[in-house]
Symmetry: C2
Subunit: 425 residues, 2 copies
């Protein structure tokens, strides 16, 4: 860290250490609120968590308010001043359900610090998703304000209470409040570490295109004893269509599919090689041993930076107990594509549909149902905030922070966002 920065930051870090017990107390208080957003029985608890956040942010001197939506409320707080960087911080104060309760060895809303083989952890629902992350940021602001009297930048804190239930109000709220939420940089602290020693900043997230395809042939299910061998079988047609989506090397065969797929920059590739990713540790726990993706690609490329095509569901004919020699009238599959770089979701969907139509034999018809379309998010990590964040995280953890990819689709379509995460206190 440059000396001038250290002079500003070091006393803040000292204050964080000195006030750790009080900070933990506040996090524990928030963790005690059972803000399960999917369960209507907990609606009042979700609201109470929003109120708790508003009160705590107001205590920092921020202008904080709860904003109603058709679902759970949004919390927006603003602080700082000047013409410098305007940062938006995103987090969520809701948590997942806790069933099955018998798998918890302590009540999920009675938080405690426990010693584990991996170190000390806070055990409570929401500790690592996302109350721990968001309070880390809030406590950093509190310590800074405590030492320096004011924030060094303009800040918007934006917290939702529906992240664990599909964020139905998020995009409408963002659109309706675009001006109030505009910022130079957004921190989304709802991600993970690379491993327990290595903090991470997610700089790329794959996009997603989902499509459901239904192949129909006869107007009703047929008896294969009567029609077998003569009538088109939609399961066979669908199997051929799905099998043709990949070649023998695991590449997707759709024409133009790899348009906009960048090669990984060597700097990033080099950093990834230092991460010591172990295939066996990743796949072993789920009963697998060998990367099954594109030939010639590293495992991290397969899950972070390469596009994919997967079949997520398939159904047709009689699949229950026993056997029926039916020739089904229809068969259907759900297919999804993870997108990277500048791959165009609309073009990928159209290429998939053309692939299906091109393979449709006589007497067969096809129906498609779209399920989501979001492009990949790729951060421009040349912005100085990235390296600053990486250095800050590296200073506090055993191993240097990494810029990593993320396999999952983001709900923040089209919004540029660096992401990082802490999962331990």
């Amino acid at each position: 860290m440059p000396e001038a920065a250290a002079a500003l930051v070091d006393p803040v870090l000292e204050r964080v250490d000195a006030t750790l017990d009080e900070a933990l107390g506040r996090l524990m208080a928030l963790l005690r609120i059972p803000s399960i957003s999917t369960d209507p029985a907990h609606a009042a608890d979700v609201d109470a968590a929003a109120d708790w956040m508003v009160a705590d942010l107001a205590a920092l001197g921020l202008t904080a308010a709860k904003h109603p939506t058709t679902g759970h409320p949004m919390v927006v707080a603003k602080g700082g001043s000047g013409s410098g960087l305007h940062v938006l911080f995103y987090g969520h104060y809701d948590v997942q359900p806790v069933d099955p309760l018998e798998l918890w060895h302590r009540p999920p809303f009675d938080p405690a610090i426990e010693e584990t083989p991996a170190g000390r952890v806070i055990r409570a629902r929401g500790a690592s998703d996302d109350k721990g992350q968001l309070m880390t940021f809030v406590e950093a602001c509190r310590a800074w304000i405590g030492v320096h009297g004011a924030l060094p930048l303009r800040l918007t804190v934006f917290l939702e209470g529906e992240e664990e239930s599909g964020s139905p109000s998020l995009v409408p709220f963002l659109k309706a409040n675009a001006d109030a939420l505009r910022a130079d940089l957004a921190l989304i602290c709802d991600t993970g570490m690379f491993d327990p020693s290595t903090p991470a900043i997610t700089t790329m997230l794959r996009g997603l295109v989902g499509d459901e395809v239904t192949i129909r042939a006869a107007s009703r299910d047929l008896h294969s004893g009567l029609y077998g061998g003569m009538a088109a079988n939609p399961i066979r047609v669908l199997a051929r269509i799905l099998a043709d989506l990949h070649d023998d090397t695991g590449r997707v065969t759709l024409p133009g599919f790899y348009d906009g797929v960048p090669e990984l920059p060597e700097a990033v590739a080099a950093q990834w090689r230092t991460l010591g990713f172990e295939t066996a540790r990743f796949l072993g726990p789920v009963g697998l041993s060998e990367p099954a993706g594109e030939a010639g690609r590293s495992p991290l490329e397969m899950i972070w930076s390469r596009p994919t095509c997967e079949v997520n569901g398939i159904a047709g004919g009689y699949a229950g107990a026993g056997f029926k020699t039916v020739l089904p009238a229809e068969a259907r599959a759900k297919v999804s594509f993870r997108l990277v770089g500048t791959q165009d979701p609309a073009r990928v969907r159209e290429a998939f549909r053309a692939h299906v139509r091109d393979r449709l034999p006589a007497d067969c018809t096809v129906e498609f149902a779209p399920h989501g379309a979001s492009p990949a998010s790729v951060m421009d990590i040349s912005h100085p905030a990235f390296e600053a964040a990486r250095q800050a995280l590296s200073d506090e953890w055993p191993r240097p922070a990494a810029f990593i990819g993320g396999g999952a689709r983001s709900r923040w379509r089209g919004i540029s966002r660096p992401c990082w995460g802490w999962i331990r206190c």
Copy 2:
């Protein structure tokens, strides 16, 4: 018909015509018994139908008895004498359920003769399956005995009451009573006409091998955002396996699959060509227009004399409403093969399983569950009974009778049987 035969048969046919009303009355009486074998509420009715048959067969002078099974009873009657041909006649006195009742325009067990565009028909449950067929044979015997005083051959009538509920007692009963049921020739009159003007004798029935295949990869369902691109996907593996079962011409690719598949004898092929089979009339009613089987084969070959491979059911991952980007732990399919000629069910099953195992990538396992295995039945139509039966049927119908194939599997494994059928009175 040779003159000597005509001298014997003509007075019998005259008697049939003269006593048609009484014969119809007996059939109507049998049709009034709601002998629905799948419905326990109708067990007494099924039993009553068996008693009715025993009484009617005894009235002919046959030695008739009801034989208990663990399900519904068998009816066995014996008559005739001498050292000539011993014929076994098979039929069933049970019927299918009648739901949905609202699709009947008259009570299903209140039979009536109706005029239709296709001619006069008897409208009642069981009229064409199988009470009409079996009473036609019984009435023929009654007329013969009435004219000549005795049957011209040894006869065993064998009727079951479980045909519409899977015939669970049939094979055990046949095995336990093999000596009593042994015959030179068996007539199974539970088949159909080729068309309303063309009677038919089914001389070949395809066999069946069913197998269920389950492909497993990861030990649990995975999130495709995290694992997609790296973890094996059982649906993709299964789609490839199923797609590879046929080549571009519709032939099954399993090595040795066509061993034992005979080319259709030219005499039979020539007869089939005269049947005037119309693809549009066969496929049109079920919404299809083009034969989808092996290239270069006629439609009748596809459904009667060529072996097939069909996928009857498939399931994997999430196929409900909406979308889940799951990488499933398993996928499964039910696959069946219709066999002809001397194809060996055990070898076909083993070739299929080898086909699957050969395509199993790393980390995938497979489990198979067998569902039935029966070889094809192919009659040796050089036996004079075939041509005699064909001539007899041809004499009575607008068009000559045909030797036809049948697509459906038979429960009468390994028993040689000519089959014919009448469906109109």
